[in-house]
Symmetry: C2
Subunit: 418 residues, 2 copies
């Protein structure tokens, strides 16, 4: 991992992401129960503890037969047994015999093929007629077909999805070793801020950023701690920052400007934090800083609500996902046609709040929201994607294909398309 | 909402989805704290409780000026005050005067424009030179520009995202009325099943489905209750089902086949459950049933691990999201080119496990996983999307555009594309 004391200034988004990620390794491992494991990254490889299926089983409800008996059809066979899942067959099949069998039940010795119940005619006296030609081995799942004892079935860093939980339950891992979650602290900063529980003061600005950041962190499965609001008094700020630096990650909202009143950066430096970069060529979100103290990551995020959220998305989110041990660190992007022309300032990456829709032929179209003001937190509820306007272009014309980052609501859609 | 006692048989996926959703309304409301609200649906409209910004504020660090003073440039003005966020300006600006101002700070009376600090030259004696022409009203955020007191800012059924949390904190809703979550019970069923805590028995099949279903439910933000494994004894099954029917939703894994040993459907019927459909034209997942008792929804899911998960995705997931009050009920689909030809059986919708990648020009390509066996739970960890093969086609050729449903891992990607 990189370590350097130089502060980069006014760098590109990819440079900022690399600067951050180069300094992060996954956190240490912990053991959790299966019911707490969803969304975590595995910290160990997992092996199969048995063959699956454990024996040759039927894939259908029907009859277990000897294929050799059905070379000439129609043919009538004698049912000698009923086998359901969980049973142990008692009688080997002799020529002319078959067994009624359920999905998942073991084949009796001698049987090699399953005939589905809908391809048969039940007769009297436990006899059944087979009028349809059959291919040997049809609808049989062979022992060990899905996994063999000792096989590596899951790898370290695999993200634990519902499917992974299914596999872990299959190999009977009631407890699983995963990468632990980062402990995240959020600090707001500014004399103008009014806390959520304060009475309304028309001269103050409600502190929304720390709650929006809380939710962004929660969306990754991490429960952060809100430290509160530090006022613009050096001693108070020092105390707050000292407390925040005990966490794995400290997010500081506000106090990233260059003004004479800004004490955040000098106080961090005085506490020993190395500031690795300051300002990123992006909009919104230009005044953002990143530093470290030992293994603690510190992000100074802009005070504008939208800038704060967009900086979190581009810079903090991949950092938290790497700490959690994940391989996939970035939001899924979808190509979409631009529904209206977009102007941006060359030399910086713009993240434009936008909504995703489909045209009559089903192609994705993206349209910027009316307001792009970085103070307008409401616009973040109207957007379901962030349209990425690359730094090398200053204008994107209508109909051009752009990439959009899907936000929480865009993971879902109104109709199924099936 | 529909009510009927007829059982539909072998219906299409859209018919099954409509049959389910027509019988569901969002659950009742409850109040939760802001820290518990993420991912829920709002149960009430939310109005702004103040103007925002509460007064005209600076959007930048710089100087508050009278635009009339800068008609001819360069011009030097006298700094009469320092204003930071949270301050109340003390002196109206007179001609020839300006005020140093921070982002978010209120404009002093008389000021109408902000000049960014980087477009100025600081001189001695609290004087500053303005060498760049300026447009009036630049970088001023007007009072009420983002929201006005009394405006409806959020609507019922809005999904609570981090941006919504920011808005709720802005209007100081520390407690918010949301649609309550459904109480979900999961029951496994079958003599062959071995519970997670049971010792390994080579003749049994590990019960993975109830845990995979648990995780699928958890992924929607709901903590389900695992009732355990009902053995194939009518009395025991009746007891289990009676307990499960006390929940909002009962998911029954296994016991959907037509065999003589299957007691689930008759027992449900005996307990008063109306079965609305049985069998859906889909693969995997054909043997699936849906019923209701009063307001309780009952889903009988197939015993094959993959069939169970795919049925959950297509039928249970939208039902749970509607109960939670959401408008967007279905997984996002992305168009992708087919990397290899796919055969499917005409007359049913196939959901093919597949992986998403990009070709060298950035276009999405989808490739089926090697195993499509419905017993192969491992294949669900290898797939990040479900490729939808429409029921009206029997073959999809390489290069054709298909829709893929994104699963948990596909919400994320390896590189940022910025």
């Amino acid at each position: 991992m990189k370590s350097s004391t130089e502060t980069l200034e006014d760098i590109s988004v990819p440079e900022a992401q690399a600067c951050i990620l180069d300094r992060i390794a996954p956190l240490d491992a912990e053991e959790v129960k299966l019911a707490q494991a969803l969304g975590r990254a595995l910290a160990e490889e997992v092996r199969a503890n048995r063959d699956l299926p454990p024996y040759d089983v039927s894939a259908m409800d029907g009859y277990a037969v000897r294929a050799a008996d059905l070379i000439e059809i129609p043919r009538t066979l004698q049912i000698i047994e009923d086998i359901k899942a969980g049973d142990t067959p008692r009688h080997p099949l002799q020529p002319g015999q078959c067994a009624r069998i359920m999905t998942g039940a073991p084949l009796p010795p001698g049987a090699d093929t399953i005939v589905r119940v809908e391809d048969t005619h039940a007769l009297e006296n436990d006899q059944v007629e087979f009028p349809v030609p059959i291919k040997p081995a049809t609808d049989v799942r062979l022992r060990g077909e899905n996994m063999r004892r000792g096989d590596v079935v899951l790898q370290p860093s695999d993200e634990i999805t519902p499917g992974t939980i299914g596999v872990l339950a299959t190999v009977k891992q009631a407890v699983v070793k995963v990468v632990r979650k980062p402990r995240v602290a959020i600090l707001s900063n500014g004399d103008e801020l009014e806390a959520l529980d304060d009475p309304l003061d028309p001269h103050k600005i409600p502190d929304s950023n720390s709650h929006a950041l809380m939710a962004q962190v929660q969306a990754l499965g991490i429960e952060p701690v809100l430290l509160g609001i530090a006022r613009d008094k050096p001693d108070e700020l020092t105390d707050f920052l000292r407390r925040g630096l005990e966490y794995d990650v400290l997010l500081i909202s506000g106090g990233t400007s260059v003004g004479v009143h800004d004490h955040v950066r000098p106080t961090l430096t005085a506490l020993g934090v190395a500031i690795h970069f300051w300002r990123v060529k992006m909009r919104p979100g230009h005044p953002v800083a990143f530093g470290t103290l030992g293994r603690t990551l510190v992000f100074c995020l802009p005070g504008n609500p939208v800038s704060s959220m967009v900086c979190f998305e581009q810079l903090v989110l991949p950092a938290l996902r790497r700490l959690m041990g994940h391989r996939r660190l970035f939001r899924r992007t979808i190509p979409a046609l631009l529904g209206q022309a977009v102007k941006s300032r060359q030399g910086r990456t713009e993240f434009i709040r936008a909504t995703l829709s489909r045209d009559e032929s089903g192609v994705y179209v993206v349209t910027p929201t009316a307001s792009q003001s970085s103070g307008d937190v409401l616009s973040m509820t109207q957007a379901d994607v962030l349209l990425v306007a690359p730094s090398e272009l200053s204008e994107l014309s209508t109909g051009k294909t752009v990439q959009v980052q899907i936000q929480e609501t865009a993971v879902w859609q109104l109709s199924p398309d099936t």
